[in-house]
Subunit: 193 residues, 4 copies
Amino acid sequence: MKERKKESILMTSLRLFSKNGFHDTTIPLIAKEMRMSVGNIYNYFPSKNNLAKCAIKFASSILASTLRKINEKDLTTKEKIEHFVESYYNIIEISPEIIEYFLRVYLSNRSLFQSESDGGFELAKDFIGEVERLIDNGVKKRELRKQNFFVSFSVFIGTLGGMTFLNGENVLERKPIHYSKEISESIYNALKV
Amino acid sequence: MKERKKESILMTSLRLFSKNGFHDTTIPLIAKEMRMSVGNIYNYFPSKNNLAKCAIKFASSILASTLRKINEKDLTTKEKIEHFVESYYNIIEISPEIIEYFLRVYLSNRSLFQSESDGGFELAKDFIGEVERLIDNGVKKRELRKQNFFVSFSVFIGTLGGMTFLNGENVLERKPIHYSKEISESIYNALKV
Amino acid sequence: MKERKKESILMTSLRLFSKNGFHDTTIPLIAKEMRMSVGNIYNYFPSKNNLAKCAIKFASSILASTLRKINEKDLTTKEKIEHFVESYYNIIEISPEIIEYFLRVYLSNRSLFQSESDGGFELAKDFIGEVERLIDNGVKKRELRKQNFFVSFSVFIGTLGGMTFLNGENVLERKPIHYSKEISESIYNALKV
Amino acid sequence: MKERKKESILMTSLRLFSKNGFHDTTIPLIAKEMRMSVGNIYNYFPSKNNLAKCAIKFASSILASTLRKINEKDLTTKEKIEHFVESYYNIIEISPEIIEYFLRVYLSNRSLFQSESDGGFELAKDFIGEVERLIDNGVKKRELRKQNFFVSFSVFIGTLGGMTFLNGENVLERKPIHYSKEISESIYNALKV
DNA sequence: TATGAATGAGGCTTCATTCAT
DNA sequence: TATGAATGAAGCCTCATTCAT
């Protein structure tokens, strides 16, 4: 199945990109890792850039769907934050590349994504939309303070990103999930009414 | 003066690196921007990698000295956080490259800095040390909660980084400094007792 | 056939290296001569240095096999020397680059080959081994004087090298093979009991 | 004195060229070794190529004058050869660069010297002339066989060059001078009537 | 679909040489 | 004479992409 193989290439690329960065991951390397020929990769993706864009969408959709499931549950905002922080670190434990990809590729290769209408921001729209929903709901239910969305977003995602970075640098003494309680508490305190 | 020119190259590189990322900033581009020849760059820095490392140290020392001055004042921790957030966004307004460099280059080009004994972490030690001092003092004075340092660090720096990223993506309606009150409040709430 | 082309690149490089020396033979020049692209050369040899090393081995093995065949014949040492000198100059006539390569590249670019365990000496081991066998046998059969091997080696190979050099400089009035009788006589006289 | 300094630059260059080869010896390196500025070198020699040519002449004249002194003595040819071989290895012990220069630079950078009318051969004329005198005299005095000069020259100089090479490769167990008796005997046997 | 040899533009870096001081 | 910053051409090598098979 073509779609099957396409996704497999995507996963492999995601892993390599997030490990080595976009520029240090060559198409021959991806091909070798996939045990297919260089030329054949191009039967599935028209360019390396496109591969990177698809990877962003892919990673974003995984995070989005995780968060969507939580959003749909009947939980307090505090609990939702706790659940998401935990899920987030579960993902890091199982597939760190999904998260690290944002840090290593998306943040630092702007030019790659700028051809997109809105500077590539659209590529992560799914995920950002779910964060927005979580926060808006919290505000509506008077559990979170009303403040500029981008500030709340930064507190939420920036904090998680910071821990992810530190984890990638191997400076944490324990696995990130160990800190999830403190983290969700911090985030909740930052945003609560 | 040779030292003068060296610093000038550093600033230019910092700007270009932070705008385009490390790989999309070529030495010929830096040279062109400096209106000097390619070869002459190498009279000041032995390699592009070294230039990137020096830039990190440079940016880190600016942030560190800003924070050091605030740490030395006799202020409550809340006020210190407010002052730093403001200074931070002042820097972003005047020289956004100093901050963005961390985001676009340091965070995302691990391999560049890994030859350093400490995985390159050392390069930002100055700055990290001052953050640590701010937080530790806050804890000692019973103004901040006692929790794992890395968590507090992530809340603090991750939030600022998040806003910096959003600013770089041009999604903010107003200049970042406009949000500094909300941000410092969020950070303080996240960390306070 | 990939192996075919690899050997063809090797021969071309050998010729150019021996004509112009290592440093004045550029990869673009080799590529042009081969009518292939620069990049494609690197599909066959990982570096210019490696190309030079392979060329040494190649040239050494040709000389070695020539000499081995002579060693295996049932001849007096005098005759063996005569045969080899003649073969040697036949090679010079047909493929002077094989011999000149030693003179122009191997002798003079120590640093190129020094990464090898043995200072690069190993690269010519095949050939040196056969020379050793020729001389040792002569000594055993009481046809040659017993003296330090390196001295005998120098007389033997140095003399041939000298003539090769003079030939390359175009100072000889006739083809080197014309002098082979005088040369083998000189060498034999130098070494005989 | 300008002439003094010129010679000093020449000696330094000779040493560096013979150690590292022509291409791996940079003008900045020579300047550093001389403790003078790069630009100032050019007040003494118009180009790096010219420096190399002058170095050949210089080295050749030293060898030539050594040999001339021996030629002028009243000795048998056998003794002259012995004396020269000894002097040669004395030079190697004191200033190996003078000899090695021929091996490392002259032999392998033909293009450097080819602009000269006769392919650069002229540069070593002094020395070659003295070798010629030694051999011609030997022939006249019926001590040496009459044979093509270039063959005799190759035996003589090739043998010495071979030992020099082996010495440079550090494969000799003892200093070259230790072998000088065997060498001069071999050379003499090769050439005698 | 699949292969992998081939292309060629472009990046980093070096270094002989010049020139303002 | 002396300095050393500046120039710029040129070399090695990489890699996204294509294409004949």
